[in-house]
């Protein structure tokens, strides 16, 4: 048997070279070699310990245990536990983390002696463990795996895991780690409940249930009280509610929406979101049924179909205050224009100074009336004079208004009023003239015009200015057609929305027929066959007659009391689904070989890449014993990644590796980011996942995660980032690959909104959190957690809070208690300072202290622990690519491997990891190739 030990990088050590030679030697030889080797290792008490005393024990000894590490009592014989710790020590010394800055450096000779001793011993331990690799601990399905498995097993799309307690991540960030996936009575209780519930749904009795259906061609309910209800035309944010009073309480339903889209030039497809829940005019909960881009034209609308199960949605209780279930069709396309409400009439407003001006001008510009034979001040004249004063006020106001004023409605009303005033004047002056000068009224009118020539000319000028405004009588209320120009927006034009449920293609439904195929056989035989068939699929392997017996005997026990064959079968099936063989990925250890069986391998593959049970093809390959073939594995991985189910891998791996769900734990402070729409958070997460998927499916270099010439964007995010893209960038909600302009900061993962927001405070950047994230998730060396009783920063210093952040951090580092760790942490985060909390670029940092607003210039120059100075994110990316490439590659290999095999990696895995890293590097870091390499590796195929 050959022990595989990966190549380590230090070649300067003679003992180490010897080691490599020793590996290929036979076991008998190796005992001799080991003795020789042990002789060659530096002696612990004479050579190693004095150096540890000198360089390490002051901080990691009896007095202090910084980072909870104590070396003076650590077993120098490298027992199982201490070997892991010594391995960490070796890593810290190798990357130059230790001894820290400010402590005497290790002389070259000292370093060589220490590393030679550490490496020599670690390799001895690895070799001793030959054939006794770390086993993957029996691991139960995670919530999402359980749910996917049950869904695929029964063909029923339902959230079966809803009541199961949520799971936490392991120390290395993964949710599918067997050692942390515990089980408790509460879980067993809910597994049993879920299994029975699933069986109630899958196996039916009696006649098909009543089907409800209803079609809506206009919004229902009291739509006036509801926000953004715009009829059948749905501009962005527009909503079409449909309340069904008669509905089933369980079963699958279909909602069909017939619609087309109006898409103005340069805009994206409108995006239809369909929700169902309680009444629609409140914030009451509704859950999404589905969403889709509407691409059909209005001329040729299309029917879009959505499915769900009634019991997945909030339904009214018994005797509810607001009966009925409301389905809403919403256009959630974000074109950046916000909600545009139908304009409401509001008069043009003047400020005090303007009103004063108007009043004074109106007082000055008074109309004069001709004086005939001493007759003055007739009643009619006074009346006209009053009206003209009012008209004059209007005209004076008009001087302050532009004919281009956007309030077209008020302009139209005003012009109507003025024209009416002018017409009234003409009419009444005629009457006055006939009254005052009955013999020659024309003469009177001429005199009037002459007297007021300037005023009338002035009035005409004003009228001319507003020539283009069509007057509207405000009493006719023509406001149904708003006069203000409505921007053209991507609009869904809905023909109808139709509900139908419960839906069964056949009766009994497929799920029923799959579990209990129609049969003429007597019940006991039928039961045995059905039980065996489900066991085989649910337990993901062939089952023995004994195993089937154990369930069949249960059937025999309960059948006499059961009301029907179906009832008894439901219980038997439920038992299959709470057995450990279903809930756990069982890998037998009672056989000689440490290789997984074919079926175990099929499950490992499918839970790795699909998070669900293996399909027919994998199982039949397993049955033929052909799955472990390297060529076949490669074919299968490629096939599985092409399958839609691989989105589960993309989603769960990125969530766990990068800690994406943390985005939802950060509340964005609207005082700092008034325009930030919380909906962007999920799009940021999608961007990161789309980016990972793009690199994976294109088999591109994983170095793209550090920096790339492209990214994945949709319209809202491109707008959020303020990117200037050719053709204006992507349109609509779908993500597409976008080539970035040269020198852009937006390449790679590090500057994606998800990562930046996740590691912010919701108000500002959080350089420490950003740094810890980078060290942990990208460079694989998380800093130790804060020690107990960390003192707060000296809070009496009021001015501390007013200092720019970098200076606060510097001050922070001057504290003894903080310095050791933060010296190596902070700089990594400072480099991201040109990005704010929501991931946008910034030049200045804004902070608010009460009413104070403090602004300081961004300072993203950082000195890395090794002394290198970098300015900003571009230089950080370059540094990572040039100097930390190996560290990143190893980190990614470790993360993927840990996820793939569902356990934490230990020292014994080091050789495999190094081999994989080597291969990864040789294949230019291509991601899909790495997945294939992992699946083909010995550790993936072994227990």
């Amino acid at each position: 048997m050959v022990t595989r030990v990966g190549r380590l990088t230090c070649g300067s050590c003679r003992a180490w070279l010897f080691m490599i030679i020793s590996i290929a030697t036979s076991l008998t030889e190796s005992a001799a070699v080991e003795k020789q080797l042990a002789d060659q290792l530096p002696d612990f008490s004479a050579e190693v310990r004095p150096r540890l005393v000198q360089h390490c024990f002051r901080c990691h000894g009896p007095q202090q245990q910084k980072a909870a590490l104590r070396l003076d009592t650590l077993d120098p014989g490298f027992d199982a536990e201490s070997a892991e710790t010594w391995h960490d020590v070796l890593n810290r010394i190798s990357v130059g983390d230790m001894p820290p800055e400010g402590e005497p450096e290790l002389a070259t000779n000292d370093r060589e002696i220490l590393t030679a001793w550490l490496r020599g011993n670690i390799d001895r331990v690895l070799r001793d463990r030959n054939g006794r690799r770390q086993e993957t601990v029996l691991r139960r399905l995670t919530r999402y795996e359980y749910n996917n498995t049950l869904r695929d097993l029964l063909g029923i799309n339902f959230d079966f895991a809803a009541d199961l307690p949520p799971e936490a991540n392991s120390a290395d960030g993964f949710r599918n780690n067997g050692s942390v996936l515990g089980i408790s009575p509460l879980q067993i209780e809910y597994y049993l409940k879920a299994a029975r519930l699933a069986m109630d749904k899958a196996i039916v009795t009696g006649p098909p249930p009543q089907v409800y259906s209803q079609r809506f061609e206009s919004p229902s309910g009291n739509t006036r009280q509801q926000e953004n209800v715009t009829g059948r035309r749905l501009p962005p944010h527009g909503r079409f509610p449909a309340t069904i009073q008669q509905y089933p309480r369980a079963g699958e339903f279909i909602v069909r929406v017939k619609a087309g889209a109006e898409i103005p030039a340069g805009m994206g497809n409108p995006h239809l979101l369909l929700t169902m829940g309680l009444r629609s005019d409140t914030e009451s909960p509704a859950k999404p049924i589905g969403e889709i881009d509407i691409r059909a034209s209005v001329a040729q609308p299309q029917v879009y179909e959505f499915r769900g199960r009634m019991e997945s949605f909030p339904l009214p209780g018994h005797n509810p205050k607001f009966p009925g279930v409301t389905i809403s069709a919403i256009n959630v396309y974000d074109d950046g224009l916000g909600v545009i409400r139908p304009p409401k009439y509001k008069p043009i407003k003047f400020n005090d100074a303007q009103r004063m001006l108007v009043q004074e001008a109106a007082k000055k510009n008074v109309h004069q009336f001709p004086v005939i034979a001493g007759q003055r001040g007739s009643k009619l004249e006074q009346q006209i004079s009053g009206q003209l004063r009012k008209l004059q006020v209007r005209l004076e106001e008009q001087r302050l208004i532009s004919p281009e004023d956007s309030n077209r409605t008020d302009l139209a009303y005003r012009m109507f009023d003025i024209h009416r005033g002018v017409a009234a004047e003409a009419e009444q002056m005629q009457m006055l003239a006939e009254q005052q000068q009955p013999d020659d009224p024309q003469q009177y009118l001429d005199a009037y015009r002459l007297l007021n020539a300037n005023l009338l000319a002035d009035r005409q000028q004003i009228l001319d200015r507003f020539d283009g405004v069509e007057p509207i009588d405000r009493r006719t209320k023509r406001m149904a057609e708003p006069l203000e120009p409505v921007p053209e927006r991507s609009t869904i034009v809905l023909d109808y929305l139709e509900f139908e449920g419960p839906i069964y293609e056949t009766w009994p439904p497929e799920s029923h027929a799959a579990l209990l195929p129609p049969s003429e056989q007597p019940e006991p035989q039928r039961a045995r066959e059905a039980i065996a068939a489900l066991m085989q699929r649910a337990w993901r392997r062939p089952v023995t007659a004994n195993e089937v017996d154990s369930i069949v005997s249960f059937y025999e026990e309960i059948r006499p009391q059961a009301a029907s064959f179906e009832e008894a079968m439901r219980e038997c099936f439920a038992m299959v689904l709470i057995a450990p063989e279903f809930l756990y990925l069982v890998e037998r250890k009672d056989v000689e070989s440490e290789r997984l069986s074919q079926y175990e391998l099929a499950s490992r593959l499918s839970y790795f890449l699909w998070s669900t049970l293996p399909d027919e093809e994998l199982l039949s390959l397993a049955a033929m014993g052909r799955l472990s073939d390297v060529q076949q594995l490669e074919t299968q991985v490629s096939r599985m990644l092409r399958d839609d189910r691989s989105s589960e891998f993309v989603q769960h791996f990125t969530n766990q590796w990068l800690h994406l769900p943390g985005i939802d734990r950060v509340a964005i402070n609207p005082e700092y980011y008034p325009d930030f729409d919380d909906g962007l958070k999920s799009q940021m997460r999608q961007q990161t996942q789309a980016f990972f998927a793009e690199v994976l499916h294109g088999n591109e270099s994983a170095l793209n995660f550090i920096d790339s010439e492209f990214t994945m964007l949709n319209e809202p995010l491109a707008r959020h980032y303020g990117l200037q893209l050719p053709d204006g960038g992507p349109r609509g909600a779908d993500f597409e690959r976008v080539e970035l302009p040269a020198g852009s900061d937006r390449g790679g993962l590090l500057t994606q909104g998800s990562i930046l927001l996740l590691n912010s405070t919701g108000e500002d950047s959080h350089p420490i959190r950003r740094a810890v994230w980078l060290l942990d998730r990208i460079l694989g060396s998380p800093p130790p957690p804060p020690p107990p009783d960390v003192p707060e920063l000296n809070t009496e210093e009021a001015e501390l809070a007013t200092l720019p952040l970098k200076q606060q951090l510097e001050l922070h580092r001057t504290r003894e208690a903080c310095h050791d760790c933060h010296r190596a942490i902070d700089p990594w985060g400072v480099a991201f300072e040109s990005f704010d909390a929501v991931g946008r670029m910034r030049d200045t940092v804004l902070r608010k202290r009460g009413k104070q607003r403090l602004q300081s210039a961004v300072d993203d120059v950082a000195e890395l622990p090794n002394g290198k100075v970098i300015a900003g994110v571009r230089e950080l990316q370059q540094h990572l690519l040039s100097s930390e490439r190996d560290r990143f590659a190893e980190t990614l290999v470790r993360k993927l491997l840990a996820y793939a095999i569902g356990r934490s990696l230990v020292l014994a895995d080091q050789p495999v990891i190094e081999e994989l890293v080597e291969e990864f590097r040789g294949q230019d870091y291509r991601l899909r190739d790495l997945v294939i390499a992992i699946v083909s590796s010995e550790v993936f195929g072994s227990r």
Binding site: S550, P580, E581, K589
Partner: protein
Amino acid sequence: MSRKSWDLDRRTLLRGSGVAIALPWLESMSVAESSRTAEFPKRFCAVYWPFGVAMPGDKAADRNWGWFPTGAGKDFQFTDVLSPMEPLRDQVTVIGGISHPNGWAMGGHDTGDVFLTGAKYRSGSYLNSISLDQQLAEVLGQKTRFASLTLSSDGGIGEPTRACTLSYSREGRPIPAISSPRQIFDRLFGQERGESAELQRRRLTNSTSMLDRLLDHSRSLGRRLGKQDQQKLDQYLESVRDVERRVGRAQAWLDVPKPEVDTETLNLEANPDAPKEYIRAIYDLMFLAFQTDSTRVATYMIGQVAGATTIANAFPACLGLQGNWHGLAHGAGKPGGAEKLGKFDQFLAGNHARFLQRLSETQEGNGSILDSTMVLYGSSNSRTHQNHNYPLLLAGGRGLGVRHGQYLRYNETEMRLSNLFLTILDRLDVPVSQFSDSTGEFSDILV
């Protein structure tokens, strides 16, 4: 098992109090007639919040936003933070200066796990011990449909040092918490939809046989597994055994309909995105659980002590208070910081006070539910990251010989939290000689 006379009294008492309770009819009802010593159920509740509190100095201008009262003994004043407790002044005691000495050496974020256990909890093994509530539930839980109720905003168990539950079994295993009001309600009061009583009965009988057979079956599976795997499988087997016991309990309760509760004022769809409604709903459910005697032991962890992962981190922001909870706690010492954190702590205190108020307004015999219930409210940080001087507020138990209306301060070298636990156990009729690292009783709360 002898039923006490309170059962009979409760039927009349609960009528018209918003709860239509269907009275558990057990054969011992006649026994109750003979034993007239009125003994009311004794109950316990613990509520925990993360990240500690604001603690401005006594001379600071914003002292009033500090959590701890000013003054001492009977002569103390609530600050603005605990002002909602003013109407309950003679039913609560504020305690300062004590903690779990075992937690001193733990990380500043790590002590939520041991708040109710006081265990020596070390990295690597992370062995915990039984929590106060579970120790109580072993006895107090025998007479109710549910032995205890474990709740948290995050749900589940979390991970070691970042627990999402306050409760630990006798083996020191975390007990998963439930977080959804709907799920809690269904558990306590929900009727199984579409299941006739007959079917329910058959299913319970089936469950016993099914679980029994699974145990047999799984033992044979165990022989084919490695050592580590067997330990995992043991966990499964233990859980199955425990569910078997629960099934037995459910069978005993089968003929007793679950209490019918008026859901009009309950917001069961509330979720942590709307903390006001959510926290209120959780307290309402705990109140109903006690009122209907569905359980006598409840814990609620408002948030996990991990700024990056707890759902509660965003709570203050949802209320219109600016900043994440962890950030607020960190900034509590900065100018204006005490007020921000204090306002949020005041909100929490307001919710807790409402709960206590409802318990104290619900009559039970000559007293109230609160008189025979002990409610512990606290955090395992004083200032954030400091595992000393826990802010603690104890309420209830006046009918059990507990006296209140004081602000007690201790030197942590002389008094510890486990002593308080020991005394709580004693008052609730579950006397033990020691709990965790207790050194004696906590006599200052005794009459």
